[in-house]
């Protein structure tokens, strides 16, 4: 094990908020710290097991979980006798993940913003697929995308765009009903006239 881990580890949002076990996410961070220069590392299960004080089997499970979800790639190199000579753990870089931005030399705050932007883009794209008036969809997006760290729709415990849009359209109808613009005094005078007729 000749590699030295970087001082910082990076765990992008898609990994952080995935269904992985917390330690598996931490392992991902460790891998990113090891593979800063090359984008991959050769650390063994024993190395990770020793580092975290767990068994090799546990590390193996975490790695396979990370691999299953597509966050890392594991490549095994064998010699002519089909013996394993090297195991390469690579990080799967996605354009919209903070790790990609980090490599480009951005700081964390910008990374957060870029994540938010990508989440917003996804949200906007999904909303725009629905067949409602564009103006209404824009209003819907503006309302639900409000917020810096977390957008309003992210703060909801449940959020299904389709159902929210149905409700939005329903409310829109109610709100756009013509309101009674007559002043209180005018309506009172009207009532007085009616009363006079009733007498």
């Amino acid at each position: 094990m000749t590699e030295k881990p970087n001082y910082y580890a990076i765990i992008p949002s898609n990994v952080r908020y995935s269904s992985l076990k917390p330690n598996a996410k931490l392992l991902y961070g460790e891998i990113t710290a090891l593979s800063n220069k090359l984008g991959y590392c050769f650390a063994s299960n024993f190395y990770f097991a020793d580092l975290y004080g767990v068994s090799k089997n546990t590390v193996s499970r975490w790695l396979s979980d990370l691999n299953k979800l597509g966050f890392i790639t594991i490549k095994i190199e064998r010699n002519s006798n089909k013996e394993i000579t090297k195991r390469i753990i690579g990080i799967v870089k996605k354009d919209d993940t903070p790790i990609y931005e980090k490599v480009k030399g951005n700081n964390t705050s910008i990374n957060t913003t870029s994540t938010n932007i990508s989440i917003k883009e996804k949200f906007v794209n999904e909303v725009m697929t629905f067949d409602y008036p564009k103006e209404m969809l824009n209003d819907f997006i503006n309302y639900w995308c409000e917020g810096k760290k977390k957008m309003r729709f992210q703060k909801q415990s449940t959020f299904e765009i389709k159902l929210r849009l149905v409700r939005w359209a329903k409310n829109q109808k109610q709100w756009s009903k013509p309101k009674n613009t007559m002043s209180k005094l005018d309506s009172q005078i009207n009532e007085w006239q009616k009363a006079k007729d009733l007498l």
Binding site: Q188, W192, A195
Partner: protein, 121 residues
């Protein structure tokens, strides 16, 4: 010509009371519908003619009672017969007091004093 309430014609008085109620409703800031106003006007005008305690009052004094009641009444103003009675009765006391001050104590310029109406020959 000023008339005592007991001399008023019921229909005419009801019309005048209705106008007064409508005006009061605006002053209070309530939204009162036509049917309620008509009912209140009919009941109150009937009361004004029949009630002996208001017999010697005139309609302009009732108007004063409402004016004072809306502005200076102790309780929250409402458009109901009970409130109308409260205002009118309170004002009747003021009128009686004013009359006492003028006629017994010979004071001048007493607010709400009204010369007694001359009887028609």
């Amino acid at each position: 010509m000023i008339k005592l309430l007991k001399q008023e014609d019921l229909k005419e008085l009801t019309e005048k009371v209705l106008d007064l109620i409508a005006k009061t409703s605006v002053e209070i800031g309530h939204k009162t519908d036509a049917k309620t106003m008509v009912s209140l006007a009919k009941i109150f005008s009937n009361d004004l003619i029949k009630e002996k305690r208001f017999a010697k009052m005139t309609f302009n004094q009732v108007q004063d009672a409402f004016h004072q009641g809306v502005r200076f009444g102790k309780d929250e103003p409402f458009l109901n017969i009970r409130t109308f009675y409260k205002w009118t009765y309170a004002h009747k006391k003021v009128i009686d007091d004013a009359r006492y001050q003028v006629e017994m104590l010979n004071q001048k310029n007493v607010p709400f004093y009204q010369e007694p109406l001359k009887l028609l020959k």
